[in-house]
C-alpha cells in the first residue's frame, strides 16, 4: 500500500523536472532536427520550404564547415592531451605529502573559478604585442628574441587559444585525477617497494592502471567540452575563419546569417560528432572504466 502511494508520489515529484527537460531540451532538439530539413530563415520572412537532406549534402562540401571541423578537432586533440599530461603531473605533485599542500590545491582552483570570458580577456592583456607581460618578460629573460604579436598571426593565435584553455581547464583534470589517486590503497606501494620496484615501475604497474577509470571519466568530460568550444575562441579571435570552431560557425549561421535550416543541420552534425566520440570512448576505454 505504502509502496504504491510512494510510486505515485515519486511520479509527482519527478514530473516538474521532466517537464523542464522536455521544454528546454526535448522540444528545442526536435525543432533543430525538423528545421534542418527545410530552407528557412529564423524570422520566417520567407515561407519555409522542405528540402529534405539538401543541407546535409551541402555540409559535406562546405569549405567553411570543413575548416571549422578541422579547427575544432585540432583544438580538442591538442588541448585535451596537454591538459591530461599537465593535470596528471599536478595531481601527482599534490598527492604527495608536503607542507602547504592544501594551499596548492586551493591555488589551482582559481583558474577553474574564473569565467572563461574573463580568463580570455586576462590572457589577451598578458599577450598584448607591446605592453603584454609575456612579451616583456619573454624578451627580458631571453626566451623571445623580439616581441611577438601572439594574437595576430594565425598559428600563434591558435597556440594562444590552446594555452588559455589549458590554463583554465587543467585544474578540473587535476582534481578528478587527484580523487582517483586517493582511491589507490597505500599498501600496494609499500608491497611494491619491498619487492624492490622503482618509483617509475610503481607508476606504470600500479598508479596508471588503477587510475584509468578516473582518467577515462575526466577524458570524456574534457573531450565533450572541447568539442563544443565557443567562449575562449570567440573572445580571442571572434569569427576569424582560421580558428573558428564548429560552435562559432554554427551560431554565426543561425543568428548572424539567420539561416535556420542550414544552421540546424550544423547543430545536428555537432551532435553526431559528439555521439561518435562518446561511442568511441565507451568502446575503447569504457570496459576498463567499468571493470
Amino acid at each position: 500500500m505504502l509502496t504504491r502511494r510512494q510510486a505515485r508520489l515519486a511520479w509527482l515529484l519527478v514530473l516538474p523536472t521532466l517537464l523542464v527537460v522536455l521544454l528546454v531540451a526535448g522540444y528545442p532538439l526536435a525543432q533543430v532536427f525538423y528545421w534542418s530539413l527545410f530552407r528557412a530563415d529564423i524570422a520566417f520572412v520567407e515561407p519555409p520550404e522542405f528540402v529534405g537532406l539538401e543541407h546535409y549534402l551541402y555540409l559535406l562540401q562546405d569549405p567553411d564547415f570543413r575548416q571549422a571541423l578541422w579547427n575544432t578537432l585540432r583544438f580538442t586533440v591538442i588541448s585535451v592531451t596537454l591538459e591530461t599530461l599537465l593535470g596528471l603531473a599536478i595531481a601527482l605533485i599534490i598527492h604527495s605529502n608536503f607542507k602547504g599542500r592544501g594551499l596548492v590545491r586551493t591555488a589551482i582552483l582559481i583558474p577553474w573559478a574564473i569565467p572563461t570570458v574573463v580568463s580570455a580577456r586576462m590572457w589577451e592583456w598578458m599577450l598584448h604585442d607591446i605592453y603584454g607581460i609575456i612579451n616583456i618578460l619573454g624578451v627580458r629573460l631571453g626566451l623571445l628574441s623580439e616581441k611577438v604579436a601572439f594574437l595576430a598571426r594565425p598559428e600563434l593565435l591558435f597556440a594562444s587559444i590552446v594555452a588559455v584553455d589549458v590554463w583554465k581547464t587543467t585544474p578540473f583534470m587535476a582534481l578528478i585525477l587527484l580523487a582517483g589517486l586517493q582511491l589507490i590503497p597505500e599498501e600496494l606501494y609499500e608491497a611494491a617497494s619491498i619487492d624492490g620496484a622503482t618509483k617509475w615501475q610503481q607508476f606504470w604497474t600500479i598508479t596508471l592502471p588503477l587510475l584509468t577509470p578516473a582518467l577515462v571519466v575526466a577524458l570524456i568530460f574534457r573531450t565533450l567540452d572541447a568539442l563544443r568550444v565557443f567562449d575562449v575562441i570567440f573572445v580571442l579571435s571572434g569569427l576569424n575563419p582560421a580558428t573558428r570552431s564548429l560552435a562559432i560557425y554554427n551560431r554565426q549561421t543561425l543568428i548572424d546569417f539567420q539561416d535556420l535550416g542550414y544552421g540546424s543541420a550544423i547543430s545536428v552534425a555537432i551532435l553526431v560528432l559528439i555521439f561518435l566520440f562518446v561511442v568511441f570512448y565507451m568502446r575503447t576505454l569504457g570496459k576498463e572504466a567499468l571493470r
Binding site: A10, W11, L13, V14, A25, W35, F98, L109, L175, D231
Partner: protein, 280 residues
C-alpha cells in the same frame, strides 16, 4: 652524498610546486595589479609587479561610464534565479530518484544524464525560437529557463547521490511516527541534505554566472545582458584604444566574489566536482 641528493630532490620538488602555484595564480594576480595601475603605468614596457602607483580610476570608469552595474545586477538575478529553481526542482526530483521505489527510475536518470552530454549549441536555434514564441526573449526568466539545461541535470545527479547516502532508519522512524512521504522529505531529509544543497547550489551558481553563449544570443542591449557578454564586448572607440584598465577592473569585480566563494567552500566544491564527474 646520499643526503645531498635527497636535499636536491626535495628542492627540485618545491621548485616544481612553486611553478604550479605561480602558473595557476599569476594571470589573476596580474589582472588585479593591472586594474589598480593608472593608465600611464599600465602602458609601460617596464611595468612594476605591484600596483604602484595606485589608483581606483578604472573602477570608477567601469561603474560610471558603462552599464556595468546593470550587467552585474542582471547576472545576480539570472544566476541566483537559475540556482534557486534548479535546487527546488532538483531536490524534489532527486528525493524521488534516490529514495522512493519507482520503476522507470533509471530511465529518468539516463534522460537527465543525456541532457548533460549534448552541447548547448545544438539546441541554440530551437531555444531561440521557443523563447521568442513564449515572449521570453531578452528577459531574465528566459535566460533562467535556458540555464536549467545545464544546472538542473548536474544538481539532480549530485543530490541523488546525497539522498542515497542517508540512512534508511531515519525515514522509517518518520513513517512509524505517521509522517507522509512529503513530510519526511521536508522535515527529515531536507535538513540532512543541507551540505549537498550548498555544494550543488554553488556549482550551479558558478556555471550560470560564467555562461556566455546563451547570454550573448538571448539578450540584446544592456537591460538584461549579463556580465560575461558585457566584458567580452568591452572595447574602446577603436581597436587601438582598448581600455585594458577598465576591462581588468571589471574582470576583478566579477571574479573576486567567485574566488572567495571557492576558497571558502573549496573542500565541498572539490567533493561535488569529483562526485558529479565520477558518477557522470
Amino acid at each position: 652524498m646520499k643526503l645531498l641528493l635527497r636535499v636536491l630532490n626535495r628542492a627540485l620538488f618545491y621548485v616544481l610546486v612553486a611553478f604550479v602555484v605561480v602558473y595557476s595564480v599569476f594571470p589573476f594576480y596580474w589582472a588585479v595589479v593591472s586594474s589598480f595601475k593608472p593608465s600611464g603605468e599600465l602602458f609601460s614596457t617596464d611595468p612594476s609587479f605591484l600596483p604602484v602607483p595606485f589608483t581606483l580610476e578604472h573602477y570608477q570608469n567601469v561603474f560610471l561610464q558603462a552599464n556595468f552595474g546593470r550587467n552585474l545586477l542582471n547576472s545576480l538575478i539570472v544566476a541566483g534565479g537559475a540556482t534557486l529553481l534548479s535546487l527546488t526542482l532538483g531536490v524534489i526530483a532527486a528525493y524521488a530518484l534516490g529514495r522512493l521505489p519507482f520503476p522507470p527510475k533509471n530511465a529518468v536518470l539516463y534522460i537527465v544524464l543525456a541532457m548533460t552530454m549534448f552541447p548547448q549549441i545544438a539546441v541554440l536555434g530551437g531555444l531561440f525560437m521557443l523563447l521568442r514564441q513564449m515572449g521570453l526573449f531578452n528577459t531574465h526568466l528566459g535566460l533562467i529557463l535556458s540555464y536549467l539545461l545545464f544546472t538542473l541535470p548536474f544538481t539532480i545527479w549530485v543530490l541523488v547521490g546525497y539522498f542515497r547516502g542517508l540512512p534508511r532508519e531515519l525515514e522509517e522512524a518518520a513513517y512509524v511516527d505517521g509522517a507522509t512521504p512529503l513530510q519526511t522529505l521536508v522535515k527529515v531529509m531536507l535538513p540532512l541534505a543541507g551540505p549537498g544543497l550548498v555544494t550543488t547550489g554553488l556549482l550551479a551558481f558558478i556555471a550560470a554566472w560564467n555562461e556566455y553563449l546563451f547570454a550573448l544570443t538571448f539578450t540584446v542591449g544592456d537591460a538584461v545582458r549579463t556580465v560575461p557578454p558585457a566584458i567580452a564586448s568591452f572595447g574602446g572607440a577603436s581597436p587601438f584604444e582598448i581600455p585594458w584598465g577598465s576591462i581588468m577592473a571589471a574582470s576583478v569585480v566579477v571574479t573576486v566574489p567567485l574566488v572567495i566563494l571557492v576558497l571558502v567552500f573549496q573542500q565541498r566544491i572539490v567533493a561535488g566536482l569529483t562526485a558529479g564527474a565520477v558518477k557522470g
